[in-house]
């Protein structure tokens, strides 16, 4: 237990009749980078605000460093927080912004100066200290906002969509910086985002949320390759995973999924339990796990027709008509196919995901 940094137990939060968080449990390890990922309204920011102490919980408890902080003031929880809109105090200089919390806590001036100087050095914002936030660029503002969390010298950093207000280029730059910061400080970081690229690149573990419930909590590769349910499978990955509704059939002892009369053999699929014949399922396969004009050993080869081609440089994205529906396939950028071309495809079933059509859970 003493390796746990933040622990959320049976946390519920509702506004009147609306339940935002529903008996949620989550343990975050010391030094871990945990990303809360989900669409807007899924409760991820609400959860972060509860951990920060900015929202009163309806039920359940929150522990930080084994201390029950459920009803403590935000300042007493040992957290720092970075916001989407930066939330810098517009009337104060960068230096005053960084030191505001320390001055409120009545720290000695020498200590304040020391901490501000250190944070400014880490974030390389020393030249900006005398400026007002309005004189800074978006990236600089966010750096100052991170600095404000840094000077507090806390164990847990909370990020609430910190990069969403930045343009694409700055976003990827700061993403790297946040990762570097985490590597050098080794603090616990809880990071809320709706951007799956941020989640996949930054996280030690990702918690995918929907309707106030954690759908899957795992490391990025597991989330990507072995999604726990249909929602996670569809939410992660761009373009989205291809889904085929079908039924498990027995073809002379060989289990297959039949989709619109087309069979997909399941020998290679890492099933969790017995595959009952007649079960309605959804077969999911990512665009890069479909081979074009190249065989996957032991797997059926199917006909498909190129509908649209989207060359993206390194990759080439093909939209194919297959088994009565449209699906996407990712191949190397150099391989080009004109629309209308007939080609052979086969699925890498060892990397596929199969979900029960009714429960939508992985089988």
């Amino acid at each position: 237990m003493n390796n746990v940094s933040v622990s959320v137990r049976d946390l519920s939060l509702s506004f009147g009749a609306v339940t935002v968080l529903d008996t949620l449990n989550l343990d975050i390890q010391n030094g871990e980078f945990l990303v809360l990922l989900g669409a807007s309204g899924c409760g991820k920011s609400t959860l972060l605000n509860c951990i920060a102490g900015l929202l009163d919980v309806t039920d359940g408890q929150i522990f930080i460093k084994d201390r029950n902080v459920t009803w403590e003031e935000p300042k007493d929880r040992g957290i720092g927080m970075v916001f989407q809109s930066y939330a810098l105090y517009p009337q104060m200089t960068v230096e005053r912004n960084l030191s505001f919390g320390l001055r409120v806590a009545k720290l000695p001036a020498a200590e304040i100066d020391k901490r501000v100087a250190r944070a400014a050095e880490i974030l390389q914002i020393q030249p900006l200290l005398k400026r007002k936030p309005s004189e800074l660029s978006g990236g600089q503002r966010q750096r100052v906002a991170i600095g404000r969390a840094l000077v507090r010298d806390v164990d847990v950093f909370l990020f609430d969509e910190p990069l969403s207000n930045l343009d694409a280029k700055l976003r990827s730059e700061l993403r790297v910086e946040i990762k570097r910061l985490h590597q050098s400080l080794n603090n616990t970081m809880i990071y809320v985002t709706h951007d799956q690229i941020e989640a996949l690149t930054l996280a030690d573990r990702i918690a995918v949320m929907k309707s106030g419930v954690i759908q899957q909590l795992a490391d990025p590769m597991t989330i990507y390759n072995f999604p726990e349910n249909l929602f996670v499978a569809g939410f992660i990955g761009s373009p989205s995973m291809n889904f085929f509704r079908g039924e498990i059939k027995d073809r002379g002892g060989r289990k297959v999924i039949e989709v619109n009369g087309v069979d997909f053999g399941m020998e290679a699929y890492p099933a969790r339990g017995p595959l009952e014949t007649g079960r309605k399922v959804v077969l999911g396969v990512r665009p890069e796990h479909v081979k074009v004009d190249e065989n996957v050993p032991g797997q059926e080869v199917h006909d498909a027709i190129v509908d649209i081609e989207e060359p993206m440089g390194a990759d080439n994205l093909l939209w194919l008509k297959h088994a009565g529906q449209t699906m996407s396939v990712r191949i190397a950028g150099a391989r080009r196919y004109a629309p209308g071309t007939a080609l052979k495809i086969s699925f890498d079933m060892s990397m596929a995901s199969v979900f029960d059509a009714a429960t939508e859970n992985r089988i």
Partner: protein, 311 residues
């Protein structure tokens, strides 16, 4: 209909040729019949609005003989400032003959503390409602806003009783409290809406930084809200200065504000009517809000429109 045909024609032209020269609509000539109608109507209306001000000024600069002979619109033949001096220093209300100056200073002594107190309380109310809402806060706020529509006459007597119990009835302090009470609904709404419009994350960041209710109010919110405080000041200064009812109900004659004294001077039944002095007194009473109005410009509009802002 006539308007659309040239438009379409132009579009067709623009597509068929890319000739140099001005594109888009021809600028309207200044003296088109449309403009003459618009400006004519506006100038006529403006004349109606300006007329009373003009009449006030010219009357106040005439001597009484001239007023009796001429018409009220004619400019003064012989300008005299005597009515102004008399209105300010020696006009009589009842037995007192020290002019409007007493009412002026009373109004100053009423308006300044009332403005400060009402804004201080309402801004804190608005801040609490926007950022620190507690259970039941919205109920009190709703009562407050509904109360803004209740005629003052309904609540006046109970307030008289409360103030009498507190020993404040008839005093300046009592009147200041009354102004604070009746300024509260609109000002609280104004500040609540303003503070709600500030980014909520700023408030959250300050809480993470360990700032409490008062620190956030004074260190974060106040410095960001100067414009709305100016708007509230304009609203209160003009409103309190122009008040008549509360002045007459809640103060003794020696504390009567300027409006009450003005009414007593002009509508007194004793003596000969001195219209020039009356008009000078009227201008003097209207001067303070008028100056506030002309100096504040757009902020005044924002202040009065605050009444229309929905919660």
């Amino acid at each position: 209909m006539a308007d659309t045909i040239p438009l379409k024609g132009q579009a067709a032209h623009g597509a068929s040729r890319l000739a140099p020269g001005p594109q888009g609509r021809k600028p309207r000539p200044m003296f088109s019949s449309r403009n003459i109608m618009i400006y004519g109507a506006l100038i006529f209306a403006a004349a109606y609005y300006l007329l009373p001000l003009y009449v006030m000024i010219v009357t106040s600069l005439k001597g009484m003989p001239e007023i009796r002979l001429g018409n009220i619109f004619s400019p003064p033949v012989e300008i005299t400032f005597e009515p102004w001096v008399k209105a300010w220093a020696t006009a009589c209300t009842g037995l007192n003959c020290d002019g409007l100056s007493r009412g002026f200073w009373n109004s100053v002594r009423i308006t300044i503390p009332s403005t400060i107190m009402s804004i201080a309380i309402a801004s804190i109310n608005g801040y609490a409602l926007a950022n620190w809402r507690f259970k039941g806060a919205d109920l009190f706020f709703t009562i407050l806003i509904v109360g803004a529509f209740i005629p003052y006459q309904v609540m006046i007597y109970p307030i008289v009783i409360v103030l009498r119990e507190m020993g404040l009835y008839g005093s300046l302090t009592g009147l200041i409290i009354v102004h604070t009470i009746f300024g509260m609904p609109i000002l609280t709404l104004l500040f609540r809406n303003y503070f709600s419009s500030l980014p909520e994350e700023l408030f959250k960041a300050a809480r993470i930084d360990g700032a409490g209710f008062w620190t956030i109010y004074f260190k974060i919110m106040l410095p960001m809200s100067l414009p709305i405080f100016v708007v509230a000041m304009i609203l209160q200064i003009t409103g309190i200065w122009n008040d008549f009812l509360f002045g007459v109900v809640f103060t003794r004659p020696e504390y009567y504000p300027m409006t009450v004294q003005l009414n007593n001077i002009v509508n007194s039944v004793q003596g000969v009517k001195e219209y020039n002095v009356n008009m000078a007194a009227t201008i003097l009473t209207g001067a303070v809000p008028l100056i506030v109005y002309f100096v504040s410009g757009r902020l005044f509009v924002r202040g009065i429109a605050a009444g229309a802002v929905k919660g």
